[in-house]
Point group: C2
Chain length 714, copies 2
């Protein structure tokens, strides 16, 4: 008995963990397809306007094993498949393969048109995981004499995987989890029932004990006005009921709403109650922030909720209207993610979905700037996570995307919106999109810098150098062509080779946190642009993100804190339970709900509204990686007028804890080596480490992994 | 009553014919996917080794109409869809749309991952057909003010269609028709039943009144030896039967066979009879040939049957083994098709399936020469059919394929097989594939000539000129680098910049019918290569096709007739009921069945075995188009030793009838303007036209469309 147990235990100890695997990007592209084609507009299918790619339909997976003992593997596949052992196909459509001891190659080849070919292989030691190699083109053929071809040019990638560790739950069946949430209040009228869930939410509406014969229409509203507007509510469901026995009924499509108005159009349909299945992504909240200011705490919490709602299969723009994956929007979510979930799969999944497949036929989301954000997002991803593998695998797709850009430069080597390109920049009334726009060149330069970095990682040294030169050239042009000494700023654009008179905030604020300006230019820009009310104001949280980041990067935390309180606080004053796509304090009443020429066109829960998460984590708690994956990082906490604050910043290897009051800093390292940077009038004191005096009241303290420090300062 | 009838008739008279439409190439690529992934090898799934492409998953279809009266259209779609009238989506998932009188734009946007998005629209005057425009990337978005974007860069193609004229029979449900064929004989043994269908066939085996419990194995054989070989038969089905009530059972996968051996492995399974559902393409046999020689008639008939069996969803290589679509094989089927079915859809469908989608990651079928055949097949297709539209629509895919080739030239501007490329040429023992092979350069030159022609048609004048220059350069190099005055022939290859000593038939025979040689070179090549037994012999019907074509092109019809009789007649002597993949008269017995290192590896029904169809139509009946689509053509009949022959050659506009005996020629024109070219010792006589005397016994007669001529000559 004991012997048997020990044998069993022995086997368990050896058993490896298998997971479903696929060609990297393919599951992600399929999932994006499904997600983005779920949009409806007034009960009508509303798909994206850009090219949607698809998975490779035929895939070869292989691994090479060296077994001490023979074992039998079990294979599950999504698609029609075959199994080869050492190049020989195994007869019949079996799911099991006996692998003798010794060195062997195992291939599984899968064909699937409807969803990405995927496999799950479980043996005692042989398991499917991302050490397996995959190719959509094995080029392995047999000549007339029976000889196998040369496959030296076949390109393999490491398989993609996530958390599909159950053979019965394959990738194509993936769904986000849900939980039941009750309504907060219900107002029953003659032919309608208005239900309030108390705050913005997302999921599947549920009608309890629905019965009768007749038609119902469910109008969803992020605002009460929208739910009550039968003519203008953006989303609705029409139900044709013929049900004698009362039965709970869950709507098939998820919606965003706070209110629903259920209208009985005809017949005698009835229901008892209304609830909803709240649908959410299973990510863990790791970042945290609390402080002495209750309004800031409220803003942080609503930001967190806003990001939570928009963190789904992918980082999406907003939950009501399109639920599409937009590169510029996602870029901000990535940054917020590094200060909240630190969930790499959601970042890479979103980046893969956005990039799609070759050939490149348009900019990402058709938007010039969104292509650039995609490149820059890779730069940041690497800095925060240190994930080289992602870059090694996706560098070819980065290259073809950049080739597309380079092929569309104008005669001055600059990028402008060509026919069919959308030059977005921001939603801003009257903003000129003509000619060569400084902001686009700045993003282009940063994109080329990213390419240089990634070429290096992918061991493409020649191109690393070439991209570096191109980046330097564009960066130089940004200054030689757009800097205006009189205006002490970069102008907005050049048209027909001449500077325009217009100065906007965009290029000027990016120049600061990209660190492209000299110190003198920074100060000039701050005074003449950022703090200058005669420059067109920004009315989207999207660009306020960067505007406030630029000011934070220049140490204007007290100013930014007040801005946050008035801008995000302004939305809260208007009853926001999540942050909006656009907010212009000058508007009144229902004006706040309109956009895109529609009464309720605006999204009241937009990811880009959640930027306080990022600003508070990066510029108040002050934690910033300085080498990839937090191998080194700095902590430069700034109270910005608060009495105290405390919080957590996640890293690849645990969370960094930061507490600061006007006289004390407490910090716990988690990963790599940190440097605490702070100012003090008196000589600060720390028992746990040696504080270095950097002069002029500046001090530094080295933070080691896992160690806690308390610093007394003044 | 009469009034009502006339109204009804009036409506019928107006009703247009709708057909299912899709993005051109997408249905074809999907169908190729399905077809090529049906291969099994000893009951094991055996997919291709090259990249398989897929359809675009999201498609926008539109048309612009100008209605005198309003009408309501009905929409069927394969996929989730929406309908827009003048840019406005129609609420709800309706299948009908009311279109008011006047000018309107109708859009249908469809999403489908599993099969190509397709629609069928039927109204009184509005119907889906290939006048509709399609795009996978409409780039149509709405800005914050509600304004629609500029879509001037959106690229539309005309929709693809075929013959799906029934809304209930959408493209994804396409299947070839079948008909029941009985077995010819049945030998019942103790535990097995051997069934003979009398000749090579293809389809789904049917067991009548199958019942009992136990296992059956069905071994298929193109030969009796194969069916009886449980260890080496290439295809088999395993059945696990548990059936109390007798029931007919049809195998799910089609197979190629003449014999089947049904073996009861265990249990007590029984069946009454065996038949099969013969599966065939619904194409019409238009070409015909009969003559005074019964062996040639037999060869022609078996060729026809061989081509019929290999003409399926696509022109495939052979019905037993892979049933894949191979460019070099298909190229010959296209040519045979022009002298038999003249079925354009099967040609274009095959070309589209072979080309697949961008990006190009390998040669077609991974084979260098097969890429070139693909280009050249477009050239021929245009010459025979005059179909400019196909070229206009597919020119971009031709360009990207050629870009791939151009990017892989060596330092001498020549093409050689790089790592991962398969240089096929032919199945021939010891054939060198090293270095720069003359044959490949010749195909390359012809491909560039095709590109020049197509660039012209696609109105890409600059590239037309560029391709023309490139073609001339390669053509010049073929002669300057490979022509060997001593050998009076092109040598096989150059290795390390030096001519090799080897002379093979390949480049030399193509040079003749490409008309690249001078008259002197032709004669030299004929003597020193084609009729020279010391040059390695060709043992595949594949290359015999070109060898005999070269000889025919030089007027060697009597010699070729004898070659046909001995080579194809040789297979018939060995009992062939269809023509083979390879035939070497020197082999004995079961040696004829082996290939690829396998006992029954050889295909006994290979499309390339059917070339007598082409040779007899083109070089004996002698009908050749000289301007695209038979706008002009020549008829140069050659008896080649026959007493008489008669036949039909199809054209886009009817069949040309040709009869010739040693003293009479009868001909009926069908299309464009023909010129009969013939020799006569005496002055020939024709009542229906005026014969022009061209000197030296050469005469010409103009053949007008639809007119018949009888010429007496000697």
């Amino acid at each position: 008995m004991l012997l048997l147990l020990s044998i069993l235990l022995g086997q368990f100890a050896f058993a490896q963990k298998a997971t479903w695997i696929w060609y990297p990007g393919d599951f992600e592209i399929d999932l994006a397809n499904k997600m983005q084609n779920r949009r409806t507009d007034r009960n009508t299918f509303f798909p994206p306007f850009w090219k949607m790619d698809a998975h490779y339909v035929l895939m070869d997976f292989h691994t090479i094993v060296d077994l001490k003992e023979p074992e039998t593997i079990t294979v599950h596949a999504e698609g029609t498949f075959n199994l080869k052992l050492d190049g020989q196909a195994v007869e019949s459509w079996v799911h099991q393969l006996y692998v003798p001891a010794g060195k062997h190659k195992i291939n599984v080849k899968v064909w699937n048109e409807a969803s990405a070919p995927a496999i799950f292989v479980q043996g005692k030691t042989i398991v499917s995981d991302n050490s397996w190699l995959v190719t959509f083109e094995d080029k392995e053929w047999i000549d007339e004499s029976g000889k196998t071809s040369d496959i030296s040019a076949t390109k393999w990638l490491n398989a993609g995987s996530w958390n599909f560790n159950d053979p019965a739950q394959p990738p194509s069946k993936f769904k986000l989890p849900t939980r039941l949430i009750a309504a907060v209040s219900k107002t029953v009228n003659k032919n309608s029932t208005l239900v309030d869930f108390g705050k913005e939410t997302f999921g599947f509406l549920k009608l309890h004990n629905l019965k009768g014969i007749g038609d119902l229409v469910i109008y969803y509203g992020e605002s009460k006005e929208e739910a009550l507007s039968e003519t203008d509510a953006m989303t609705l469901d029409r139900l044709f009921i013929n049900q004698k026995e009362a039965k709970d009924s869950v709507m098939p499509l998820s919606k965003a709403f706070r209110y629903v108005n259920i209208v009985r159009e005809e017949g005698s349909v009835s229901f008892d109650d209304v609830s909803m299945l709240y649908e959410y992504a299973d990510v863990k909240q790791r970042g945290a922030f609390t402080c002495s200011d209750t309004l800031i705490n409220k803003i942080y919490d609503i930001s967190k909720y806003t990001l939570e709602l928009n963190t789904r299969e992918f980082f999406i723009d907003g939950i009501k209207r399109d639920r599409w994956v937009w590169s510029g929007d996602a870029y901000q979510s990535y940054l917020m993610n590094y200060y909240s979930y630190f969930d790499n799969p959601t970042v890479t999944r979103t980046m893969m979905a956005l990039r799609g497949k070759d050939p490149v036929t348009a900019h990402i989301n058709t938007i010039l700037d969104y292509t650039f954000y995609w490149f820059i997002s890779v730069y940041d991803y690497y800095l925060y996570t240190g994930d080289k593998k992602f870059i090694e695998q996706f560098y070819p797709r980065m290259q073809s995307m950049m080739d597309y850009c380079l092929s569309r430069r104008d005669k001055n080597g600059l990028m402008e919106g060509l026919s069919g390109d959308w030059t977005f920049i921001d939603w801003a009334a009257g903003l000129s999109k003509k000619g060569e726009i400084s902001f686009e060149q700045m993003l282009f330069a940063r994109s080329l810098e990213t390419m240089s970095l990634c070429a290096d990682i992918a061991n493409d040294k020649n191109n690393a150098e070439a991209y570096k030169k191109l980046a330097a050239d564009i960066k130089q042009k940004v200054f030689s062509l757009y800097w205006n000494d009189q205006k002490q700023a970069l102008v907005h654009s050049r048209v027909d080779g001449k500077q325009t008179e217009n100065v906007t905030r965009y290029a000027n604020m990016f120049g600061i946190f990209f660190n492209y300006f000299t110190e003198g230019q920074k100060q000039a820009v701050k005074q003449h642009v950022l703090l200058n009310d005669s420059i067109q104001k920004i009315t989207t949280p999207y660009m306020r993100f960067y505007e406030l980041e630029a000011l934070c990067a220049m140490g204007e935390q007290p100013y930014v804190l007040n801005q946050m309180k008035s801008y995000w606080g302004g939305m809260l004053n208007l009853g926001a339970t999540s942050f909006w796509e656009e907010y212009n304090p000058d508007k009144k009443g229902a004006e706040h709900l309109a956009m895109y020429g529609r009464k309720f066109g605006k999204s009241l829960c937009h990811a880009w509204g959640a930027s306080p998460i990022y600003l508070l984590g990066k510029y108040y708690l002050g934690v910033i990686p300085t080498k990839p994956g937090y191998e080194t990082y700095t902590v430069q906490p700034q109270l910005g007028g608060l009495q105290w604050m405390q919080g957590k910043v996640p890293t690849p290897d645990g969370d960094i804890d930061v507490y600061m009051s006007v006289k004390e800093i407490k910090i716990t390292g988690a990963c790599g080596t940190g440097t605490l940077l702070f100012k003090s009038k008196n000589k600060p004191v720390c028992k746990e480490g040696v504080i270095a005096d950097k002069g002029n009241g500046n001090y530094e303290l080295v933070i080691e992994k896992g160690k806690s420090y308390v610093v007394a300062y003044k």
